[in-house]
């Protein structure tokens, strides 16, 4: 569903009202609503400024400062927001050639991205080039199927992360594409690529055992291919228990997410929003107490500064 700005704001407001009318005690006097709002981008490719007015298809679209404004407006209306990126932050405009990705990371930090996974182009200045920019990223990178043990980036990234948003526990893991053939070996060095399917199975199992209500995969595998190369579609079909795959790499403009019913009837949705920061994806989750199951209490360890 494509919406213009006015529509999406009014939709947000009406959904909040809708929730209030449904009489959640937790929502009484909480005009912000209780929805979990997942915002996402992919393949922004250093597109800091809007696409130039050069007669191209995307002229005037995108722009990171505009995205920052949009995200700020959403944050003003929603209390539970998670903001993710599915990789290929780097490469595509002279901003990257001149500043190496510093500005991209600073702006994403300013927008309060919660996490990103790594795309193949994030290695375009090599492992060293990525490492040099990490101090500018005030958000973690989550990548579960690259083994960095033999590199200088060992222990700089997370395999997964659990975000507690209100009462909802959200487990996030990340999958990167095979770098061989996409990135020259001198740039990716000794990163070991692991088969995404077993890694994803392990991640889902672990995150569920940790009590996650929602399991999200940040994927740079690509939406789908004409051959049997591992993709988001194959992942959704082969791995049980992923709720949402936030995709990238293939620059796919999806008008709406694809729903895949995987093994054991679990439903996975796949979404990808093009490239260059032309769109922001938004997936809202409306929490309904699950009366069918025992509601276990959770005790959490909060880490605060």
């Amino acid at each position: 569903m494509k919406m213009d700005r006015r529509e999406f704001i009014s939709q947000t407001i009406s959904s909040s009202i809708g929730l209030s009318l449904m009489g959640f005690p937790a929502l009484a006097g909480n005009p912000m609503g209780n929805d979990l709002t997942i915002l996402h981008t992919n393949d922004m490719h250093s597109r800091i400024d809007p696409f130039p007015y050069d007669g191209g298809k995307y002229a005037g679209k995108g722009g990171m400062a505009r995205r920052a404004q949009l995200i700020k407006e959403i944050r003003n209306r929603e209390s539970q927001v998670l903001l993710f990126d599915a990789g290929d932050i780097f490469q595509g405009t002279p901003y990257f050639n001149m500043f190496g990705g510093e500005l991209e990371f600073r702006l994403m930090s300013q927008m309060r991205y919660d996490a990103a996974t790594l795309g193949n182009h994030d290695f375009d200045n090599g492992i060293d080039g990525l490492e040099r920019q990490l101090p500018h990223a005030k958000f973690p990178f989550i990548i579960s199927n690259y083994d960095f043990t033999a590199t200088s980036l060992h222990q700089r990234f997370l395999s997964y992360k659990i975000f507690q948003k209100g009462a909802i526990s959200v487990g996030v893991f990340g999958l990167g594409i095979e770098l061989q053939g996409l990135v020259s070996e001198k740039l990716f060095g000794n990163i070991r690529y692991l088969d995404p399917v077993p890694v994803a199975n392990e991640m889902v199992q672990h995150l569920r055992s940790m009590g996650c209500d929602l399991v999200i995969c940040l994927s740079h595998l690509g939406y789908r291919y004409s051959n049997d190369k591992i993709s988001d579609q194959i992942l959704a079909n082969d791995v049980h228990g992923i709720d949402l795959i936030i995709g990238g790499h293939t620059h796919t403009f999806m008008e709406k997410p694809e729903t895949v019913t995987g093994p054991d009837g679990h439903t996975t949705i796949i979404n990808q929003v093009g490239f260059g920061g032309i769109n922001l994806g938004r997936v809202n989750y409306k929490p309904t107490p699950n009366h069918g199951r025992a509601t276990a209490t959770s005790s959490t360890v909060k880490v605060t500064n």
Binding site: D147, N284, S298
Partner: protein, 255 residues
């Protein structure tokens, strides 16, 4: 593969987090979560956030000083196409022409994958920035000597994927296979060696060109492909010539 988050990383990121849960989450799902999704196009209806803009401005100013320089003029808008394209031909020719200025031996041909050409050349003034967007990669020039089999592999790839642009050669494609190949005006001969100007990325096997890793490396230049294209446009401009290219039948599909 589950590695524990090291403590430094936690301290580093926790200022941004409301909370991070590590242990003792509820073992079963407390909620049914119904997804609802929208796509929000980012367009002119959004003003720029002033604090983001404040971060960008100094970078933009430095970038523009270098990038807004007009280096040439284009006759028309050059874009990629389904098979052969004006933009692909222009880039392949620029690489070939500039390679010949740097390598003393004979160079038969050049190749570039269309997926490596990342932006069009607009009609009118061509800025340095355009070439950075077209060829953002820091790829360097390699000169390779291919044997007949390697040369054939290159044309096999082109005939099957139709996403390579070639300089100084012609191929007739039937059923996704090369029916006839002409290189440097001569029919292809399996017993001849061919010299190829190409970016290091492909020489190292990128974009499906693994067969190039077996070719003999005649020269490696510390010369960026992007700078070669810039140099080519600058030299055209200095001769009063416009940037231009046509589809001229380098890749002919036999229906």
């Amino acid at each position: 593969m589950i590695t524990l988050i090291d403590l430094k990383t936690i301290t580093h990121f926790c200022t941004l987090l409301i909370s991070v849960v590590f242990l003792h989450c509820a073992p079963s799902t407390n909620f049914l979560l119904e997804p609802h999704s929208v796509l929000i196009p980012i367009d002119t209806s959004f003003r720029a956030d002033s604090s983001a803009e404040a971060i960008i401005v100094p970078y933009r100013n430095r970038m523009r000083m270098q990038m807004e320089v007009v280096i040439g003029h284009s006759e028309k808008r050059l874009v990629l196409g389904k098979v052969e394209s004006p933009l692909g031909n222009f880039v392949a020719d620029a690489i070939l022409f500039q390679s010949r200025l740097n390598f003393t031996g004979k160079i038969h041909m050049s190749v570039v994958a269309n997926e490596g050409i990342r932006a069009p050349i607009p009609k009118g003034p061509v800025k340095r920035a355009t070439v950075y967007e077209l060829m953002p990669f820091e790829n360097l020039l390699y000169i390779l000597e291919l044997n007949g089999a390697q040369t054939r592999s290159l044309f096999n790839l082109l005939a099957s994927n139709k996403r390579l642009s070639i300089g100084n050669s012609v191929v007739l494609v039937e059923d996704d296979k090369p029916l006839k190949i002409f290189i440097d005006g001569e029919p292809f001969r399996a017993d001849q060696k061919y010299v190829l100007a190409v970016a290091d990325y492909y020489a190292q096997g990128g974009s499906g060109m693994s067969f190039l890793t077996e070719a003999k490396v005649l020269a490696k230049f510390n010369l960026k492909i992007r700078d070669m294209i810039i140099e080519h446009i600058v030299s055209l401009e200095s001769k009063g010539k416009a940037v231009n290219a046509e589809i001229e039948g380098r890749v002919k599909l036999i229906p």
